[in-house]
Symmetry: C2
Subunit: 392 residues, 2 copies
């Protein structure tokens, strides 16, 4: 049984088809697991083999194509009828003789789509170069168009039903950061703290179970605070070290990321407290200002202006769009809050603002996960925006 | 500081270069995160942006290229000297104007490799079609060769140091399955059991912290036992339902997968117990027989022969090679135990045998994670090979 009502999926498919028409795409091949989930409800850890969903202008229901053993999963989790589910034999998997795209081409021919203009997600992980080559070779009469992030751009404005799930993810995010706060202490092994954090992620709340995040808990302690994107070791935390955390609450694959910095002592380095002050005030000023109708780049410019009196420099983007996602990234790959992104913010868009700063000897991270309302924004969770001090 | 000694990495690189020479590849571009880790020690959750390691026949050290904010991570976790680490600016990330492969091409030109024969991993996730197109466009004098799984095939024979880590992963696997056994009970929410399982995965043992698995805990209960690859819900387990589990112990990204079937009662359906008996005996006979010198397909034939007296049919492969890995798959994408795979098994190869059976109304899973010795095999863990009964 699919997560949302069938009407919700049909409305998403309708929006996708409108974008397809505008771009002259008659058949869209979707490979990104979040896009498969978004359009059909399909939810399985099967994205390590080739699979796709085909959306055709001349067919109401999309077509799911995947590995034989995963077809029952598609029947269980998607809204699709059995006539829309096609399975390839196991000897297509990681074979050097045959490729799953040969089977996909067979299905495309079966529906007489072999001369169509076919959109593919050309810069998505999960759609390899070889997939493209085999598809093109198998369908010589088709023309191929880059439809990268086409469905991602449909995802960018959330439905009320989606925002409800993101709100639950926000509740879980609070539990997750509280678990970090409780367990990250001098003498505790990093792995043991990570295990309590992930436990909180999966367990969720008493009424809503959690889900696996698209990014595992990121935890940078001591020397590692000069960089993002690392995971835990089995060393114990030390007194007077900082710990950067990039976590998320997740519900049904919808994310509410939460990032904070814990200091295991009472007296952090001056550079860290100075940076924290600038970043926290800059983030607050940006949030006071953000509203529908402004562009993504204007939000970043506001942030830059707010910290311009200081020495803090942030070269990387300020944030990005969030929603439903699967590993390896909870970022939607649509809106980036940075110069050049002229996307106009609209109600029901959801953003993760994460002004992370990594110097060569110390770092600081804090964030806000929000969605736009008719007049301003609403936070996905309420959690103190400050350094967390754990001194014993 | 890298995980293994520099000599271990240099030996891996030497083996890679030998294979490159044999295939006429002068420069190898490696994109798979496990291959980056294997060749350099690099360990960061940064594979959701484009990154690579370049191995050139005419340079001893590989070259790491990634996003600016991840370069400190490369300095912290790899054995590479600073002269081998190159970082691209943040405005290359998910841009429609510029692509990280333009920067990679700049580095290739800087080292005068632009006319070389360049090997790329054409069917790996993490190397997209667009990456190939942009690289080819930027380097018109280069010739491109498919080097898919080239490094994976170097990884297939493990060093003693690697087997030691896999042994620790095996110890963790036992803790992980014990956590499942303790917490999967009628009335417990699936998400709460999953949270205890993942906690055991990350916590590891008292002497060795665990790591995140390349595949999250897979847990199929009740109706979902007709399929693999699903995750938990927030429903409570029911009395008299079966639960299929695909889990793993992980240490420093080295995996020891463990799969079992729990029955929440005393009287499973006859089809399940019949299937279990056939599969368990078939697996035992296969393991009695397996030894270095036989082919991967012969192992599968032995298994098929061992169950031929029964009605059990397994169409999918019996197993595959395992070792170091990152999401989305702990399978190495080299050896498959199935007809047509003529790889001769050698000492220090590691295999996951997983004869999973999914009927339309019930399934059964059990497994063995082993490595080949000089004369036979050694199991990565010792865990009862039987249905687990949890009846209260």
């Amino acid at each position: 049984m699919s997560l949302f009502k069938k009407e919700e999926y049909l409305s998403r498919i309708e929006k996708t088809k409108t974008l397809m028409s505008e771009r002259g795409i008659e058949l869209l091949m979707v490979s990104h697991p979040a896009n498969l989930n978004y359009l059909t409800g399909y939810d399985g850890w099967s994205f390590y083999v080739h699979q796709c969903v085909l959306v055709a202008l001349d067919r109401e229901e999309p077509v799911w194509i995947g590995r034989g053993m995963d077809a029952n999963g598609a029947r269980l989790t998607s809204f699709l009828s059995n006539e829309s589910i096609f399975e390839y034999a196991d000897n297509y998997v990681q074979s050097t003789e045959r490729h799953p795209m040969h089977f996909v081409a067979d299905i495309i021919r079966k529906f007489h789509w072999e001369k169509k203009s076919i959109g593919v997600e050309m810069d998505q992980f999960y759609f390899t170069h070889r997939s493209y080559v085999e598809l093109e070779k198998s369908l010589p009469q088709a023309s191929f168009v880059d439809a990268n992030a086409l469905v991602n751009w449909v995802r960018v404005v959330k439905s009320e039903a989606e925002l409800e799930l993101m709100g639950i993810a926000g509740q879980i995010a609070v539990n997750v950061m509280n678990a970090a706060k409780t367990h990250i202490r001098p003498g505790v092994r990093e792995c043991d703290a990570a295990s309590e954090i992930v436990k909180a992620q999966y367990a969720g709340t008493s009424t809503h179970g959690g889900d696996y995040p698209a990014i595992v808990p990121l935890m940078m302690a001591g020397e590692a605070t000069k960089t993002p994107h690392l995971t835990w070791s089995d060393k114990p935390f030390k007194k007077d070290e900082a710990v950067l955390l990039e976590l998320s609450g997740v519900y049904k694959h919808y994310h509410a990321p939460i990032a904070r910095t814990i200091y295991l002592g009472t007296n952090p380095p001056q550079l860290m407290t100075d940076t924290a002050k600038v970043v926290i005030e800059g983030l607050a000023k940006t949030l006071e200002w953000i509203k529908p109708g402004v562009t993504a780049e204007a939000v970043e410019a506001k942030w830059r202006e707010a910290i311009s009196h200081s020495k803090v420099v942030k070269e990387s983007r300020l944030g990005y769009s969030i929603g439903v996602n699967y590993p390896p990234d909870w970022g939607e790959h649509t809106i980036s809050l940075r110069p050049g992104d002229k996307t106009i913010l609209k109600p029901n868009m959801a953003l993760h603002l994460i002004p992370g700063i990594w110097y060569d000897d110390v770092g600081f991270e804090i964030d806000a996960s929000i969605y736009m309302t008719e007049t301003g924004y609403k936070a996905l969770y309420d959690y103190p925006i400050d350094i967390i001090y754990n001194d014993k």
